[in-house]
């Protein structure tokens, strides 16, 4: 589905990514892990076109996308879901969702997708006329994911969906992400909550200093001592 090959990129003159390679298969959940400042978000930004790839290539659905402007990448079905704080606070929940479906052509598609999102997140339906600024942190994250789903994407990329949320809400959101995958979407998830991400994902990448350092099956990564100690905070990951 998504293939990132020798990607080099950064901000201004500062190079962050030094040739990262990644592959995301169709209808899978892939976790991208790593500490602060290792280039996780930079990969997402380069993939969704917010920053240019300096070198290397990004291929989505058999098509080179690293030279396209962001709105055309969205049009091809690759959507980045931002962190919960990146909503439009002075707009209502419904308006935020309608913005997510901005590229849709007909009103019917828009209403169908609204129904679909409210089906995933009934809380949003209860609050659909409220201003987004009045939502709680968990609801904001739901709103962001819902907004990403509005445009009928083939693949969504989630930027730290669990950041600053209560464990119960994180669980709820991760359940929904799993449901989204079951409905046929591909998911790339960037996380700092390593345990949750690896439990959910099929495959994992650990990034360090702008290159993919370790990769493998998520169950294997979870027990990999070197990964644990080097990149995942050095503590033992408890599973059940």
């Amino acid at each position: 589905m998504l293939k990132i090959d020798q990607l080099v990129s950064g901000y201004g003159t500062v190079q962050i990514l030094n040739g990262a390679n990644m592959k995301v298969d169709n209808q899978s959940i892939v976790a991208l892990l790593g500490g602060n400042g290792t280039g996780k978000s930079t990969i997402l930004k380069a993939t969704s076109g917010l920053i240019r790839a300096w070198k290397g290539s990004i291929e989505f659905d058999g098509e080179q996308i690293h030279n396209l402007p962001p709105h055309e990448i969205v049009g091809r079905g690759l959507v980045q879901v931002t962190q919960g704080k990146d909503v439009f606070p002075a707009m209502s929940v419904t308006e935020n969702l309608r913005l997510g479906g901005f590229i849709l052509k007909t009103k019917k598609q828009l209403n169908d997708n609204l129904e679909k999102v409210f089906n995933y997140f009934p809380r949003l339906n209860e609050r659909k006329d409220q201003l987004a600024a009045t939502l709680s942190g968990g609801e904001l994250q739901m709103l962001c994911i819902g907004r990403g789903l509005m445009s009928n994407p083939k693949m969504i990329m989630l930027d730290e969906p669990s950041a600053a949320l209560a464990p119960q809400i994180v669980l709820d959101i991760f359940k929904n992400i799993n449901r989204i995958r079951k409905d046929g979407l591909t998911v790339l998830i960037v996380e700092q909550n390593v345990r949750m991400a690896l439990l959910l994902a099929d495959y994992g990448y650990v990034i360090k200093d702008g290159v993919i350092n370790v990769e493998g099956d998520s169950k294997k990564l979870m027990y990999d001592e070197s990964v644990k100690e080097s990149y995942l905070g050095g503590t033992k990951v408890n599973v059940q």
Binding site: V74, D86, F102
Partner: protein
Amino acid sequence: MFNKLRIGKRGENIIFSVFVLIYIAWCVSSPDMNIESLKSVLTIGLSVGIIYGLVALGISLIYTGLDVVNFSHGEFFMIGAFAGLTMFNVLGDQEWIFNVFPDAYGWIIYVVCLFTAFVSMGLFGVFIERVFLRPLTKKGGGYTVAGMGIIICGFGLSVVLINVAYLIWNPVAKPFPAELGLPMEIGGLFLPITYIWMIVVGLGVAAGLWFFLNKTKMGLGIRAVAFSKDVSNLVGINVPLYISIIFGIACAIAGIGGTLVGPTYQVVVFMGYIILMKAFAAAVVGGFGNLPGAIVGGFTVGIFETASSFYISGSHKDLYAFLLMIVVLMIKPTGFFGTQVKMKA
């Protein structure tokens, strides 16, 4: 428009109300004060105010959308007036319209001029944005980063546009002899009917803009781009295109404003400068970047200015708008509607 949550400070409002009461008392104590003069002051004040409001609307729209203050906006107002006047001269006498609608002839011609100003200034605005402002953002970061360069460029653009207009239309003030019917009597004064027409069309344009921004898909996109370029990109909005649209709409509204004042005053190359300054005062009074605030600020400045020159002293007419701006900035720096949105938690 973008900021709906209001954080008011009661102290500010009380002090401001005291100022307003003192001002009203001053006006009432004037020997010229009576119902008749009040009527004409309100008519003139509102009609002048809506023009300030329309230009302020454009300044606020560009400020929210592009994060820069456009100091050449008065020139779009002036060129808009010339565009309307040129169309008026090109049309000349259209006998067939006169034969079909003998009563509404002048109005039809005038509406065509307004429409011409609207469309031509919209396209001209897009042209200016694409050719002169967009290249300044090439180093990356968009308008937000290139801010100061764009503001200086706006000053330069203002000088250039005035001089281009000078070459084309020469500096003589030109009448705009639209045939809009006889003057009417309001409060003992005979005022041109265009005063009422200005208020009606101006409010119509403002209402149309409100409808466009709040009820259409493109308007939704414009509000999104105004709030955040990055998030707008991620939901699939073509941000560079929308920035051009925002600039074009702001200039088109200024153009309508220019053609609206044409028949009442005269069309002259230097009319943009003072309007820009007054519109600036209006935008600050209403709350910078707030669109309903721009219109309310325009009305406030217009009425304050007219009332002051009527009841206090007519020899310092241009002073009052800025006096009001200074008082508002001292007491209530956010303006009437200027607010912040706070995220919960």
